[in-house]
């Protein structure tokens, strides 16, 4: 996503030299968010991020099926299976890949993740009426897949090791509302529970044993326990990677080697908005980073990429949105039905907000967070006035 975005941004900003987008996937680059949503309905095509005509118009050379194997940061070359490409500037946008669970790593199990169109298609073909899906992981991807699977009449069990859903990044108050929504839609939630063993059965299904003593027979196991940066191909290079494998960048998204940048899921950078190091796995920030680097390489002067994090998730007919960062305390403004706003704050300073089914509240607070600092009273007043 960020790679394509950066290529188009380079041209929009007037960059004249050759631009090559190399992608390990075949076909036109496609967007990831629909994979856990609309795409899980039969006969839905992937949503392309660009067209052949737009790439040709922008004189961007797209190389599908080209997996980068190694980087030589000093010689300024990237090695592919069948070629070595020299560069002046490099933008690393290799994204992230699914974290695996040792208990579910047996290749004979009907199990998979949801990071690519191929893996999403495997789930799509395994859900439907009378089918049983086990989702391991109560994060956004798992919850979205659970909701789409339910809407197709699948029996869904969701297993989460933490005692609540969305333990990373979503306040407990909002996670509780979502747990009610999933329960109300017929998902069996196994919270505070881990998978102890899994075995394939003769008919191609699987039997799971859980830490609470239950066992479940299912048609498919979706492993959605988070992502790890897709940066193994950089380990032999001189680039600095962080302990968990992100590409280490400064405030301008430049890596430890000048003229080499990283954007999107694989990058960790100094976010000048907060004066702290962050890595985000969100669509909107990946796009913002890519557009920033495109403009920067094309010669625009801005040296730092400040980002207000924003992420959304669609589950059933509900929309969950988060802006900003977690605080040390949360204050909930319940509304009618499921509509909820949870303000994240540190004392009287508002740091972010999580909303469910309240896009207007989200927008008002996100606008104000972008512009200036907000006090808790004024944020609560804004939430109440939109209601």
């Amino acid at each position: 996503m960020a790679g394509v975005r950066c290529a188009h941004a380079l041209r929009t900003a007037g960059y004249r030299d050759r631009v090559i987008v190399a992608d390990a996937e075949v076909g036109l680059p496609y967007d990831k968010p629909p994979l856990s949503k609309q795409f899980l309905h039969p006969d839905t095509p992937v949503r392309s991020l660009t067209t052949s005509a737009a790439l040709a118009d922008a004189a961007v050379e797209h190389r599908p099926g080209a997996r980068a194997l190694a980087l030589d940061a000093e010689q300024r070359t990237v090695t592919f299976e069948d070629s070595v490409v020299e560069f002046d500037k490099l933008v690393i946008a290799s994204g992230s890949t699914a974290r695996t669970l040792p208990a579910l790593a047996d290749p004979c199990l009907p199990a998979g993740n949801i990071r690519t169109a191929a893996s999403a298609a495997a789930i799509r073909d395994s859900i439907g009426p009378n089918r049983v899906l086990v989702v391991v992981g109560g994060g956004f991807l798992g919850l979205e897949a659970a909701s789409t699977a339910r809407s197709r009449g699948t029996v869904v069990h969701l297993i989460e090791a933490e005692p609540r859903l969305l333990a990373r990044g979503v306040p407990a108050e909002a996670a509780a509302v979502l747990a009610r929504i999933h329960h109300g839609n017929g998902v069996t939630l196994h919270l505070g529970t881990a998978v102890t063993t899994a075995a394939g059965t003769a008919d191609g299904r699987a039997r799971l044993s859980l830490s609470d003593g239950t066992s479940i027979d299912c048609d498919y196991i979706l492993v959605a326990v988070g992502a790890v940066p897709h940066t193994a191909w950089l380990e032999s290079s001189s680039l600095t990677l962080t302990r968990d494998g992100h590409v280490y960048c400064g405030a301008g998204l430049e890596t430890s080697v000048p003229g080499i940048f990283a954007v999107g899921d694989c990058a960790e950078w100094q976010n000048p908005r907060y004066g702290s190091r962050m890595h985000l796995e969100h669509w909107t920030s990946a796009g913002e980073q890519a557009a920033f680097v495109g403009r920067r390489i094309a010669g625009e002067a801005r040296a730092e990429c400040a980002i207000l994090p924003y992420v959304w998730s669609d589950q059933y007919q509900h929309t969950i949105q988060i802006a900003g960062v977690p605080g040390t305390a949360n204050t909930t403004v319940p509304n009618s039905g499921t509509a909820t706003a949870v303000v994240h704050h540190h004392g009287n300073d508002v740091l972010g907000i999580t909303t469910i089914d309240s896009p207007a509240t989200m927008l008002a607070i996100r606008r104000r967070l972008l512009r200036d600092s907000i006090t808790l009273e004024s944020a609560l007043a804004t939430c109440a006035s939109i209601g």
């Binding site: 975005r5 188009h8 941004a9 929009t12 967007d31 968010p33 949503r47 669509w283 909107t284 796009g287 913002e288 557009a291 924003y310 959304w312 669609d314 929309t319 949105q321 896009p359 207007a360 989200m362 927008l363 996100r366 606008r367 972008l370 939109i386």
Partner: protein
Amino acid sequence: MKVTIDTQLCSGHGNCLFAAPEVFDLDPATDIAYLRKTEFSEADESAVREAVADCPANAIQADDS
């Protein structure tokens, strides 16, 4: 430039408002984006291009003509 918003696709993220505040706003009654103007300056046009790319729902069309 001709700009259209597919109101079926728009899901009220508001990313377009941040990219091109002069051009887009969200209707508070429906939470759907609308155009604040129909004539675009050069600055508007480049902001609109950014908004097209920033829209997670792929709901904005901009044709140069």
